[in-house]
Amino acid sequence: MNCAPFDLRDYYFEALPSEQHRAVEEHLGRCEECAGELARVRLTSLALTAIPEEEIPRRIAFVSDKVFAPSPVARWWQSLWVSGARMAAASMALLAVAILVHAFRPQTTVVSSLNPPHVVAASVDQAAVEAAVNRAVDKAVSVTEARYDAKLKQIVAENARQKLIIERAAETIDVMDLRGRAALVASNRPPGDGQ
């Protein structure tokens, strides 16, 4: 036991109001027995600290542990939003995928899958369109054929005209050749020959 006005252990653990703390402090200044008792409390506490704190052998897992971690989708979404660069990269990747899909998807499949209620109407319209296209094609073919026939006739006529010119030129050449030969024969005939 001690004669301190308040509990020395409360004083040591700083659990006394300031006035009581000061009162004990003053008492300790003049009471060796209480000062000794306080020293023993302090030494006991100090002796306990001979058992040191230990480093934790393994860090507490949180993010790395699947039990703790949020779902991969949530983590991806969260990391996407916190990074502007990642958001931009993801946007570009999404755009690239959209372009690829648009480029390679079969048009009829997409129409039928995207608009199933309009499949019948689409097939009816397609028949009408097909007939119209056929008519247009037939008309275009006939026009083209007529144009080709006319052109062919023109070419044939031109060929005939050119053939006639060439034949006339050849006849002219033949006539001139005959005239030249006749002139040569006449020039080689002796003077006084009556032929």
Partner: protein
């Protein structure tokens, strides 16, 4: 200390909004204290470090799951230790009596004489679990009596009674060694 409390409160708010990294930072601040608290109240038995580590993991998991229930973020420390206390006592209840005192593991720290460390460790072992926990929370963790009352959910007078009785027992047991060691 005030700034640290504000920072913890801020981290808790961020954690509540889904920022996992903030909780990671909270763990890094508190994991050593929680681990050592558990280690000391579990007692020096074979496998006590693994138990303390496993319990620490559970403590931080439960704290994360219940972080929205923490009314005053500035009281995170006592709240966290309350969870740790519950986890430890849950383990105590599961333990079979024959598993107790299967051996004593010794640390290899050379800052204090081996004799004093052994004596302190043995003296702590002789305390009742309640007395030992009061000593651990006050001497090693430095909690205020009001915080200890929150952690242990009992009146301050009860806490003081356990602590001072424990100190009296420890004083008597450590006196011979203490005079040769640190005294």
């Amino acid at each position: 200390m005030i700034f640290r409390a504000v920072e913890d409160a801020d981290l808790i708010e961020r954690t509540r909004k889904g920022d996992v990294e903030s909780y990671n930072l909270l763990i890094s601040r508190w994991e050593k204290r929680v681990y050592n608290y558990l280690l000391r109240i579990l007692g020096n038995r074979l496998g006590c470090r693994e138990d303390a580590l496993d319990l620490s993991q559970d403590v931080f998991l439960k704290a994360y799951q219940n972080i929205r229930k923490l009314e005053d973020p500035s009281r995170f420390g006592p709240w966290l230790f309350r969870i740790a206390h519950n986890e430890a006592y849950s383990l105590f209840r599961k333990r079979k009596p024959e598993d107790e005192l299967t051996g004593i593991e010794q640390t290899h720290d050379q800052a204090y004489p081996v004799e004093l460390r052994l004596a302190a460790s043995t003296a702590l072992e002789k305390l009742s679990p309640e007395q030992r926990e009061a000593v651990v929370l006050k001497i090693y963790q430095g909690f205020k009596f009001e915080e200890m009352a929150q952690i242990l959910e009992c009146p301050v007078s009860t806490i003081k009674s356990r602590l001072y009785t424990a100190l009296e027992l420890l004083k008597n047991q450590l006196a011979p060694v203490r005079t040769r060691g640190v005294g």
